[in-house]
Symmetry: C3
Subunit: 241 residues, 3 copies
């Protein structure tokens, strides 16, 4: 299975063009869109999403992960990461640095291989998708893979809003396991009660809870926390004892 994680947007041609490349090279491989709206130009917040949302996929899954503001520059190397029996392919710009924290025994490589046709602005299609296919087909590491032992490790939690979903729920970079059972958070000066699910508070009221992937999430029962708190990605979230 190839799982797509990127900031390209569901709109536009980019996902379709990547999928066409994958399909031509490996028509039998299922392709799943996980995030196409990861925080734009933001490998930092994206790294926390990727680390939390990739673990539930089965062993052998290949994550084609592209949040790549430095595309086409010498600023970052293409990377392959093997962590907890899952493969990750994408730019080495921080995107894999939280996975590195969770899995200190991971293996990583930089990739010097270049495809015949490499555009300056769409390495997702031209470089990373073919690499993902190679890995998903069980091939060897691609030519030009050079072991990289210095992948940076970032803190395991990020006390910020890292994603805002269709309901206006605010996903934070704080893992619920990092808090004591009775610890909660505030945004600005507003303390937020910690509960199990939405309907544990009245409609229109804020709450926080461990979401279905282990992250602390701030919501409003039957409403939008994004409207309620008027925040954007990067807003600070403070832990309350």
């Amino acid at each position: 299975m190839i799982v797509l994680f990127n900031d390209f947007g569901f709109n536009g041609p980019y996902l379709g063009q990547m999928k066409a490349v994958i399909w031509q090279q490996a028509p039998e491989l299922p392709i799943i869109d996980l995030f196409a709206d990861a925080p734009v130009h933001n490998p930092h917040a994206s790294a926390y999403l990727l680390a939390s949302y990739s673990e539930a996929f089965p062993e052998g899954t290949v994550f084609l992960a592209v949040v790549d503001p430095g595309v086409g520059s010498q600023q970052r190397e293409p990377a392959i990461v093997l962590a907890n029996k899952r493969w990750y392919v994408g730019p080495d710009n921080g995107l894999f640095n939280v996975i590195a924290t969770h899995h200190p025994d991971l293996q990583a490589w930089h990739v010097r291989w270049q495809p015949e046709q490499l555009s300056a602005s769409f390495h997702g299609r031209d470089l990373f998708a073919p690499l993902a296919v190679k890995l998903a087909k069980g091939d060897q590491l691609p030519e030009g893979a050079v072991a990289e032992t210095d992948l940076e490790k970032w803190p395991a939690d990020l006390n910020e809003v890292i994603y805002i979903d269709h309901f206006g729920n605010l996903i934070t970079g704080i893992r619920a396991v990092s808090l004591a059972k009775d610890e909660s958070v505030r945004i600005g000066e507003v303390p937020i009660p910690r509960v199990r699910t939405f309907s544990d508070v009245p409609p229109g009221t804020p709450l926080c809870y461990e979401n279905a992937n282990g992250l602390l999430e701030v919501a409003v029962n039957q409403g939008s926390a994004a409207d309620y708190f008027r925040v954007v990605i990067g807003e600070s979230v403070y832990v309350l004892a």
Copy 2:
């Protein structure tokens, strides 16, 4: 075929996570997204959409239908419905009550089965998707299915805007067959001519017509009825003799 109907949004990880569950359990099953932007937290309007848009799918189709503001609470039971040889799986919170009106001979069950891992906030992935797979594979009803004979029936038509599409067209809950051939509607005080297709009125002019699924729809030729009327889901639509 499994058809997805929900209010999760195409953005974000939720559709991908549900599809990954389905694919792992039944890689051969095609999955079709019907609505991922059903009216948010609104099983009432959603019930009319689901009833109108599901009939055109072939017999044996399984609809995984999740508009579920009460997720994780004791407020609603998980349900399975068999109507007109199509299966429906989702929360019994009204979502199937218009199907019940159209098909008074339907069969319904509440489901007491619980998966090993059940999050408090994402029953679409953890509970309803596995149930949908069981039905789609032709298995028996799942363990814990208890016949439910009291599914509520709602009126067959809802004189409101129930969905606004990408063009700004306003889908109403009124079936065209419920009106006489020369009956039309108004929104606010604006009467809207009833025609066959968009170009039957000049560009920029409102019209209403029987849409491709049998519902009365309000549009503006080469424009946006949502902008023209400045309405949202729930706006009243009045029948004009």
Copy 3:
């Protein structure tokens, strides 16, 4: 492979309904979404997108292309086009007129065939999708196909913004090959430096470059050109010597 190009929006039921029709008639055919957000009601700008983004797909690809403000009227004929060994199906309303310019030896047909059930407003599902399946399965031309030798040809370049992507990048209808290597463009009075990729200018600065499909594209490094220039589709783009 069937590639979908339309202005229906990823939201809403339309893509799913088309895919269900295709899947029922040809379950083995892969379906790729290229654009579901082509310029709304705008076959003119769409024709330039389609011509530029279809060439990279393999021979034999069938493009199901529907930007069709005149749907259900006598204003346009359903058409099939064969150009450079790729098939195109959709309304003859200009959508194929740039492909005609690039491939003066193309073959085109108007289609008089009508399906048993033809709604007035959704020929993508009822008429064009079944035609696309016929072609993708390698069948003969459908009954009712009448050679059409007078497909209009439009200029090869359009000096306008034709699409704005998720990043706020402005795709123009100008092919990079139409400019000299040192030629650039301006929007309004702002001249835009021509470079190879985003990071060739400082963050927050506009640039233009040959995008990954050969079109000149205007962007802002790590920012949004749509916000920077405050433009919409149709904005003029002027060539600077």
